[in-house]
């Protein structure tokens, strides 16, 4: 047995809790705001036990008012604190859209006030949440200059990116995928570490087709890669990890190597992250493409509730397999 397997494995959600706990212990400016995060420990129990450990003025239960408490977090951040706001579900972030895009995102550009703020947003489907508890709203914010956006896919990235977000001097939207919360585990380093914002990660190296993705879809892509390897198609899985600023260097290097691209995401297709990356590749990597740029993403509908509908809506391993086979003939 190696020492790695002796160390305790943690889930994706535990990694998030650990990051918050360690940053709050390291830096007394860090505090939490959100609905039901205190005595209840949060809808998903990310902050269980935090109230007792850090007290009610560092683990603040707020009224049900996303715009109000995001605005308040912006004010506290400008006064020198490091607020971390929890959206109970990412879907509710729409209530705070104005504060995020007009106040947090523009303050530094307009008049030089830094807003070191983190908003954690549990996003994504596959949990039968229906139209208001399954959304992937990152696309709305992807278009707003002044925000950073991250979306980890593993416990290591979840912990490292949250720590980096808390230490960043800008507003960072942290999209944590709730389907992954208790489904994946990893052994994490004992020592303090961060995952730098703005760096993608090659989760699987391959030579034939680049699958560029993030969040829960990374795991789908890895599953598809295993199946396809038996058929002689070698996928490279690029996990963006950060959506803004995009790591163009890593994306372009992968595409230049494989010459074929699948853009995979759980947000609906039109105007999504995939559309932007597709345009970038057409502009900057046209000469090295050997096939059409393929997007695999849900249809332009709300996320439906009923099991067959949601299954239809979400991208599947078989979609990636079919897409890869289509590209392989070029």
């Amino acid at each position: 047995m190696t020492t790695a397997t002796l160390a305790q494995e943690v889930t994706y959600i535990d990694a998030i809790s650990q990051a918050l706990d360690e940053e709050m212990s390291r830096d007394e400016r860090v505090f939490l705001m959100g609905e039901d995060i205190g005595a209840y420990g949060g809808a998903f129990k990310v902050t269980e036990g935090f109230l007792k450990k850090f007290g009610e003025w560092r683990v603040l239960d707020t009224p049900l008012s996303e715009s109000g408490f995001v605005g308040a977090a912006i004010g506290a951040a400008m006064m020198g604190l490091r607020p971390v706001v929890e959206m109970q579900f990412a879907d509710f972030i729409s209530c705070a859209f104005d504060q995020i895009t007009e106040v947090a995102a523009k303050n530094h550009y307009r008049w030089g006030a830094a807003v070191p703020l983190v908003i954690r947003a549990p996003f994504g489907g596959g949990v039968h949440g229906g139209p208001f508890h399954s959304e992937c709203p990152e696309g709305w914010f992807f278009h707003s200059p002044g925000l950073k956006i991250v979306a980890p896919s593993t416990p290591y990235d979840a912990k490292g990116l949250l720590k980096a977000a808390i230490r960043d001097p800008n507003p960072v939207l942290y999209f944590e995928h709730k389907f992954l919360y208790r489904r994946i585990k990893a052994t994490l380093p004992q020592e303090d570490f961060i995952v730098p914002i703005g760096k993608a990660d090659i989760k699987r190296s391959g030579g034939d087709i680049s699958v560029i993705t993030y969040g829960a879809m990374v795991h789908l892509a890895l599953e598809a890669a295993e199946l396809l390897s038996k058929e002689g198609i070698d996928l490279e899985v690029v996990d963006l990890r950060t959506l803004i600023p995009l790591d163009k260097e890593t994306i372009y290097a992968s595409v230049r190597k494989t010459s074929k691209v699948i853009l995979l995401h759980e947000d609906n297709k039109t105007g999504g992250i995939g559309a932007e990356i597709s345009a970038l590749l057409a502009e900057d990597c046209f000469d090295c493409l050997d096939g059409p740029i393929l997007r695999i993403a849900p249809p332009d509908t709300p996320v439906p509730f009923s099991t067959p509908l949601e299954e239809f809506f979400l991208p599947k391993v078989s979609d990636i397999v079919a897409g890869a086979k289509k590209l392989a003939v070029y």
Binding site: G75, G80, G112, A113
Partner: protein
């Protein structure tokens, strides 16, 4: 305002200083309006003409380390906080010498070092932000207060209510105000809300509220001082409704024909500068020659500011790309 109360509760030097800032605000905004009419200023010009007593009064009642999230007709607060006429005119002209270096225009300026939170056009957006500043003061056990407001129209927005609620629930050291100047652009109060006094809104949040004569700088100052003292003592937020009248259009392009003439005439005799001069005369603090001297002094300061703004360069086009993200050294301590 009763002159005996003023004589007892406001220092003569403070009152004279407030009069100076009323005059400076008027002289500066008159110049800005003239520049707009000459076509030198593009975009909106939202003045505090006839409402100067509100910002001058509240800013004078605050400590220097308190934080202000102003309404967009609060030029006086910027001046009390040390923004110079030169910086302000440069801002309106989109020059490098303005606080936003051309990134934003008119009263959309801020500076955390001078405790001014930059105005956001989406009215009431900065009210939760100010509540958050107050939250930071409370968490750090600092003896500081946040002061934030909006217009009568802004109190219809959700952010106003969410801020009032949050501040009251957590007893935050913040004072909220509404500049009730009867019109939100062209919309009169009766189409904005089904109440006649905006202060009614405070009751729903268990927050004490007070109606204040917004054209009387002494009344504004004393009401703010009381509310600020309560906030500083840990007794929670207060809501102040400053009753006043918008004497110009929404912006200077707007002739405001929708406002009845007789309403403007009725308010004309309550002009805050005239009111302040009457008060100073009654108290024996100033006379016509003194008022004239202050007027000339402020006009001269605006002239000097104009020279500064004229000499300040326009930003280079490529400056557009600078400043989307902050660096570590720019975060507030």
């Amino acid at each position: 305002m009763d002159q005996a109360v003023v004589a007892k509760d406001i220092k003569r030097s403070d009152l004279l200083e407030m009069y100076y800032y009323l005059r400076l605000t008027r002289s500066l905004e008159d110049r800005i309006t003239a520049l707009y009419r000459q076509g030198r200023i593009v975009g909106g010009v939202y003045t505090s003409h006839g409402m100067e007593a509100i910002a001058v009064g509240y800013a004078s009642a605050l400590n220097p380390d308190d934080v202000i999230a102003p309404f967009h007709r609060d030029m006086g607060a910027f001046l009390v906080r040390g923004f110079t006429p030169g910086e302000v005119i440069a801002q309106y002209l989109g020059k490098q010498g303005g606080p936003t270096k051309g990134k934003d225009g008119n009263v959309h300026m801020g500076d955390l070092k001078r405790g001014m939170i930059g105005f956001v056009s989406h009215l009431a957006d900065n009210m939760p932000v100010a509540a958050g500043a107050a939250l930071a003061f409370k968490i750090r056990k600092e003896s500081r207060v946040a002061f934030a407001g909006t217009g009568d129209g802004g109190t219809s927005r959700g952010d106003f209510h969410e801020a009032m609620n949050l501040a009251s629930v957590r007893k935050l050291p913040v004072v909220f105000f509404c500049t009730n100047n009867q019109y939100a652009y062209s919309t009169p109060l009766r189409y904005q809300m089904a109440i006649t006094d905006v202060v009614e809104r405070a009751k729903a949040y268990g927050m004490p509220g007070e109606i204040v004569d917004g054209n009387d700088v002494a009344d504004v100052y004393l009401a703010c001082r009381r509310a600020i003292a309560k906030a500083r003592a840990g007794e929670g937020p207060t809501f102040l409704e400053f009753k006043t009248m918008r004497m110009h259009g929404h912006s200077e392009h707007d002739a405001a024909k929708y406002v009845p003439r007789e309403l403007l005439n009725a308010w004309q005799c309550k002009d805050p500068i005239i009111c302040a001069e009457q008060l100073l005369s009654r108290l024996g603090y100033g006379d016509e020659s003194y008022f004239h001297e202050v007027l000339e002094r402020t006009k001269k300061e605006v002239d000097i500011g104009m020279e500064f703004a004229e000499q300040s360069p326009l930003p280079e086009g490529r400056e557009t790309l600078v400043g989307v993200f902050a660096t570590d050294d720019e975060v507030s301590p």
